[in-house]
Structure formats: C-alpha cells, structure tokens
C-alpha cells in the first residue's frame, strides 16, 4: 500500500518535471530567435516623400530588446514584383531608426515593407515583419489602384494602453500655425518610444500595433528551414558560394580573397565548406565600396565561379488580397499630392534635412603593418615597363620570362637574400591580382608607389613568399581584371536617409508662402522617465484636418506601449480658397 502511494507521488512529480522541462526546452530552442517590429510615421505616402521608421528587434522569448543582431534589413516591395527599395540599418541595443526616400518614379499602389535580421532567415519568411503602406505617384490623377482587403476595424487610431489622460494636449482644437505642447503624464514607465503626429488618413489601416504584434508572435508557430545563418552580432555577414561551372557542383576548401580599392594593400579571406559556401564579415570599411573577390590558386584546368548571396532576398513574392476599387479616398490623395507639390515648389520639403552618418574611422584589414621602404618611380629616370622598373630600381624583385609569360620572384631576407622559387603575392591599388602579367605594362608615369616586402610573411593562417604592392596614379585596377575567376560586387552603403525637423512657421518670413503639412512631428527616440512628465512640441500648419498623435515603443521591462490621441486643426481660410 505504502509502495503504491510512493509510486503515485513519484509519477506526479515526474509528470510536473516533464512538463516544466518541456516548456524550458521550447523556450530555450526559441532563445536567440528574433522578431522585428517596424513603426512608420504614417501609412500613406506620395512618391518623393520620406518614410520615417523605427525598427525594434526583440528576443522572441523574453520580448525584450535583443542585443544579438547589429544589422537590420528593410525591403519595400509591390505585389508580384521585385523590391522597389532595399535598405540596411545598424541596430543598437535592439533599436534602429532612419528614413527611406521614396523615388518620384514609384507607381501608385499598395506596397509591403518587410523587415528582418539575418538570424530570422533561419526560419521561414513568415517570421519576418510585414507592413502594408500606400504610395501614390505625384502625377497619378486616375488613382485606379486597389487597396489591401482590410479588417472591419480601422486600426489607424489604435487603442490606448493606459488611461485616456495619458496623452495630454492643452486643447483639442487648434488654429493654423499654432504651437502644440503635448504632455505624457503619469506614465509610470521608463521607456523608449517613437512619436508621430500625422493627418488622419482616409485609407483604412490594416496594421497591428506593437502590442498586437507582440501578442501574435507568442501564438505564431515558426518552422526552422535552415540553421546556416549566423547572427550579425559584429557587422554585416556576406555569404557566397564557389561553383564549378562545368559540373555545377559546389567546390570545397577553396580559398576566396576579398580586397578593395585603397592606397593600402588589404585582404580578407575565407575557405569554402562542404557546401562550397564561404562567409565574410563586412565591417564599416567595406561600406559603399566595390569589392573584388578572387579564388586563390584555382587549378588551371578548372573553371570555378563565385556567387554572392543577396542579403535582401525574400523567398516568396507577395500576393495580397486586394479590395475592389473604391473611390472614397481620392480626395485625401489629391490633397496629399497637392501638398507635396506645394512643398516641393517652395522648398519646404517636409521639414527634413540630410542626416549625416557620423561613424568612427573604419579599420582597414591591412595585409601588413610593418614599415616598408617605399619606392617612388617618379624619383628616378622614366622607365617604360615594370620589367625595366624591377631591373633598375627594385633590386629585391626578379622577373623572368618563360614562353612569353613573365614570372616574378622576391628576394627572401630570412633565407640569406636568395630569390624565392615561389611567386609573391601581388596587389594593385590595394586589390589582389593573381598574375604579374596584369601589371607588366605599367611604367614610371603610371605608378605612384611600390612596396616590396622581401620575406616570408603570414596573414592569419596563410603565408606568402614576399609581397609586391603597387599603387598607381589613376587607380588602374578599375580597368583591370584581377583574375579570370574574380567577381566585382558593389557593397551598398548604409543609408539612414533624412531626419525630420520641426519647422517653426514663424521662421517663414514671407506670409505669402503656404505652409501645409500632413506630418507635423516625428521623433523616433523619445525617452519616457518613470517619475517625470515628458513633453514635446510642434506646430500646426494651414492644413485643416484631424491629426493623430501616435506613440509606440517598449518599456525597460519589455512591455509594449501603444497609444494614440487626436487633435483637430481648423483653418478659417479654406485650402482651396488659398
């Protein structure tokens, strides 16, 4: 009897323990899995305007800001077509903000903004953040595009998280060009929020607030598709593959060199794995530069090729359910188009200015740090070719010609100053070139500087029998093919776009200049303090409309905040009269 009781107790303990362990296991599996939320200033834009955004990167388990990924990706795409805009941002402690300038040429329609981090690519595209926005071309007067099928509830005015007195304005109705002071009272939270004040759109919003999005994540099951994507915890990671062009098979253990145009020989290398894949860390040094990839020591009888993976690639095209054509939003769009036209004409372009990117000086991955006695051919008599230069002014370099092809050798100081029987590494304008023939025609007039390192040198796990680095006067590498297998790749620069500036109407000296705004205020980083009231101010414009004050963000403990309020702006002089 006693034994039976003991067994029952044990079984119960075991059951509870199993459930607890199972939950812990599920949580642990999802730990490191991130989720993204993208807040935008509005949901309807005219091509040529800026989309101001704030990106939140969360740990999908703790729902707190993730410190894992340092890079976030944003893609803007139209249904069934290629991305219209691609942008990557630096994420700092789970937050990034910036703006996307919408090209004037974008056709009218519904667009989708997709935001994600590299680790999210280990799961299906469904785990990415998706948000629909409407973009209208400034010159499109037909407006015959269709909107996304929306829920019956309009979400443009989202729910208030706390009491109704949370967002306080001194009054509800304002005149034109009037100062509005907003107080966020008794918030009792320490949080970082983004605030936007924009004209209430006549197009129904289908987006979830940050609160709703976070709730849905906890319910949405995500399936892992691959585990190959590493977190971009340091910088952007570039992935590529080496393929045998004849057999179409992946090439294993191939060494890929990366260097770019510079006055210093620079190098980064990676070896391909069993899938023929290689990965390279692209620090800020590589931002906006043309990258030269070359396979080192490719067998002469083989034809290999380097393929670079697009970091912005989305596996499926977007096919939204579109509403039948409705014309009730037309007046609102016409007004938006007119306002953009007026502001462009008077140079009051939404009160935005170019945001300078302030960054530390990027670190060049130098091939060598030792002091080298550089040779400047201009200091000597003019010489017609590199073989002549090597004979006359480079005593540590020897060029031999065999079957019409040149070969270079460097004197190795550690081996009693005898010429090595192995070829050195050659760099032209900072870029690795696989053959001395590429530089053989360079003469004194074209070369600025030559560095020769006459010893066996190490770079990481690789070692070379000397280095010849040539810097030309007019970046000859641009018109040179570094190797038959080399690939040139433009590494897009980080673009944080423009920043919003609150324009004081008093600063417009001429009263005849119209002052129309649909976005009155945008601040992506407003800090809410636990004890104090937080205030911010902006000015109304001549635009008669209802304006939504929308606040979204995250508290220190990971609680999502979403609140909105409405103010009315009345202009006694009608817009059309003006």
């Amino acid at each position: 009897m006693k034994k039976h009781l003991m067994m029952t107790i044990f079984k119960r303990i075991f059951f509870i323990l199993s459930v607890a362990l199972f939950c812990f296991n599920m949580n642990a599996k999802a730990a490191g899995q991130e989720a993204v939320y993208l807040q935008t200033d509005r949901t309807t834009y005219v091509a040529g305007e800026s989309v101001f955004y704030k990106m939140y990167v969360f740990d999908s388990v703790t729902k707190k800001r993730s410190d894992l990924s340092k890079v976030g990706y944003i893609v803007l795409r139209a249904p069934k077509s290629d991305p219209a805009l691609k942008n990557w941002v630096k994420v700092d402690a789970g937050i990034a903000s910036g703006s996307l300038v919408l090209p004037d040429s974008l056709p009218s329609g519904v667009y989708q903004m997709v935001a994600f981090t590299s680790v999210m690519k280990n799961f299906s595209d469904q785990s990415f953040f998706h948000k629909e926005i409407v973009i209208v071309n400034r010159f499109d007067k037909r407006l015959d595009f269709r909107l996304v099928n929306s829920n019956p509830n309009d979400k443009s005015r989202c729910h208030q998280t706390d009491s109704l007195s949370w967002i306080m304005t001194d009054k509800l109705v304002y005149g034109p060009r009037e100062k509005v002071v907003v107080s966020l009272k008794n918030t009792n939270v320490q949080a970082n929020v983004a605030v936007s004040v924009y004209e209430e759109p006549q197009i129904k919003s289908v987006d979830n607030s940050i609160v709703e999005t976070l709730d849905e994540w906890s319910l949405a099951p995500v399936e892992s598709t691959s585990t190959a994507y590493l977190p971009e915890s340091k910088a952007k990671i570039l992935r590529g593959r080496v393929i045998n062009e004849t057999t179409r098979e992946s090439v294993q253990a191939a060494t890929v060199f990366l260097s770019c145009l510079d006055t210093i020989a620079n190098l980064q290398y990676a070896s391909t794995n069993s899938n023929g894949m290689f990965q390279m860390l692209l620090s800020d040094y590589y931002n906006g530069k043309e990258l030269f990839f070359t396979i080192k020591d490719m067998p002469v009888d083989q034809k290999w090729r380097i393929e670079i993976e697009d970091n912005f690639i989305l596996s499926d095209k977007w096919k939204p359910e579109l509403d039948i054509y409705k014309s009730d939003f037309k007046d609102y769009i016409y007004k938006s188009q007119d306002i953009v036209y007026i502001n462009k004409s008077f140079g009051l372009d939404n009160g935005v200015n170019e945001k300078p990117i302030s960054e530390n000086k990027p670190i060049c991955p130098q091939l060598y740090h030792s002091t080298v006695k550089s040779v400047y051919p201009s200091d000597f008599v003019p010489l017609d070719s590199f073989p002549e230069i090597s004979i006359e002014i480079l005593p540590t370099v020897k060029l031999t010609k065999h079957n019409g092809k040149y070969q270079a050798y460097v004197m190795i100081s550690s081996q009693g100053n005898i010429y090595s029987d192995k070829e050195p590494l050659i760099f032209l304008d900072g870029v690795y070139v696989d053959d001395i023939q590429k530089i053989i025609d360079l003469n004194s007039a074209r070369i600025k500087k030559i560095d020769v390192l006459n010893n066996i040198r190490a770079f990481g796990d690789l070692f070379f029998y000397g280095i010849i680095s040539i810097i030309t006067k007019s970046n000859e590498i641009i018109s040179t093919v570094p190797a038959s297998n080399s690939l040139r790749y433009i590494n897009e620069n980080r673009n944080i776009g423009k920043s919003f500036v609150v324009l004081n109407p008093d600063s417009i000296k001429n009263n005849n200049i119209p002052f129309f705004k649909q976005l009155l205020y945008w601040n992506p980083n407003l800090e809410l303090k636990q004890s104090d009231h937080t205030t911010f101010e902006f000015y109304t414009s001549d635009n008669t409309a209802n304006f939504i004050i929308k606040i979204e963000g995250l508290s220190e403990d990971g609680t999502p905040i979403s609140a909105s309020s409405v103010i009315q702006v009345n202009n006694p002089i009608n817009v059309t009269d003006q």
Partner: protein, 239 residues
C-alpha cells in the same frame, strides 16, 4: 521506474543542448571572423648561450590589436633580444614575428606560469628619439610603472675545438624600469635603489623620502618600488 528516469534525462539533455545554441552561434561568429595576425618569418639563432626569450615555452596568449580587436589563445613567446612577439602559427607550424605596430597589448605567462600583461609604449631614448618597446605593465594609474625585460647580446665568446675558433653569441637579461608621469613623459631607471629613484624626482625628493621612511619601504626590490609608486599615487605627490 528506470524508463521514467531515462526519459527525464533525455529531456534534460535536449534542454541543455537547445540553451547552448545561442551562445554557440555567437562564439562561432567570434571564431570564424577572428582578426588575422600579420608578421614575417622568424629565424631562430642557431648556437648561443643564455636565453633570448622572456618565456621559454609557447603559451596561449591574448592580443589586443591596434585596430581595437582582440585575438584569443594564440601561441606566443616574447623575444627580449629583438623586442618582438614571436607567434607559432598552429596551422602551418611556422614561427612568425608579429608586426610590432599591429600590437597594442598582449597577455601571456612567464616561466612560472604567472600571468603577465605587456604593452607597447613609445619612449624617448638617448640614442633614438622615439621608439616603440614592449614592457610589462606593473602599475597603471596617475603614475604608471612598466618593466622592460630586455635581453642583451654580449661580445661573442670564442671557443676552440679541433684547433678551430668558434664564435658563440651570449645573451644576458637586463631589467629596465620606466615610470610614466601624469604629463605622459617617461623616466627611466636602470638600477633599483633609493638614490636612483629619488634622483628622478628632485623637487619632491623630501616628501618621497618621508613617505618611504614612514612606510618602511625597501627600494631594492620590485615590490618596494611598486609600494612606493602606489603610495605616491594615493597621496598625489606628483601632479
């Protein structure tokens, strides 16, 4: 019963494995993309007497590069004669002299397995106007104390074997002490004793003497020197 225990154990293993995944992927990033060391081949002296290395064996050491990046667990030895860091590249078993200007600090171990922190400093010398040397960091503060573990090459010793003269290099260690002042200037001390130390601070000579006497410090040893500089920092004797 044993099945239950087995199942619980399996579940626990899964949990631990899942938890490790995040840490693993972050450390994988550090390993895959660790910064690269650069240097030139090191050719060891063939026959000599004495020792050219501060630490005889290669020990796993960490390096702070001038780029601000850290390299962990590389096999290093400090050559006091060349004043260079020698690196054993474990992938090709070749020894390289790491480019001096690429190193800011390195952390290694001495022959007694004690951790030692070295730093590259730029000091004024009577012979060369500016030069970079590697020194052991002993105190870092208002006034800092560094020790240079120099190895000197003495005149060749001649030995005769089978009637033939052989010239053998002889190396001998020498310790130099550098004190960095708040003004970032360096003072060099060749011998450890009270008078040499006081000579470096003619204006504060009396107060330092008092301090040494009061605290019963012996400047003939490194510990005495450390104690004195520590106290001078605390009492802000040098500004």
């Amino acid at each position: 019963m044993k099945y239950y225990i087995g199942f619980a154990f399996l579940l626990m293993c899964f949990s631990i494995n899942a938890q490790n995944n995040v840490t693993k992927s972050v450390s994988e990033v550090d390993t895959i993309f660790s910064p690269k060391l650069t240097g030139e081949i090191y050719v060891q002296e063939r026959q000599y007497q004495g020792e050219v290395f501060y630490n005889n064996q290669y020990v796993k050491s960490n390096i702070l590069l001038s780029t601000g990046e850290m390299v962990y667990g590389e096999l290093l030895k400090y050559n006091g004669y060349l004043d260079e860091v020698i690196w054993m590249n474990h992938s090709n078993y070749k020894q390289f002299i790491i480019d001096k200007s690429s190193i800011t600090d390195f952390w290694t171990k001495d022959n007694l397995d004690h951790p030692v922190h070295f730093q590259r400093i730029n000091v004024r010398d009577t012979t060369i106007s500016h030069r970079d040397i590697f020194v052991e960091v002993v105190i870092e503060g208002k006034m800092s104390l560094y020790i240079q573990h120099q190895i000197l090459c003495l005149p060749d010793q001649i030995t005769y074997s089978n009637g033939q003269a052989r010239y053998i290099k002889t190396f001998e260690p020498r310790t130099l002490y550098y004190i960095k002042l708040p003004s970032n200037n360096f003072l060099k001390m060749r011998k450890l004793n009270r008078s040499s130390f006081l000579k470096l601070f003619p204006e504060q000579k009396k107060s330092i003497s008092r301090l040494i006497k009061k605290n019963h410090l012996k400047l003939k040893s490194v510990s005495g020197l450390i104690g004195t500089i520590d106290l001078m920092n605390k009492e802000s004797i040098i500004d």
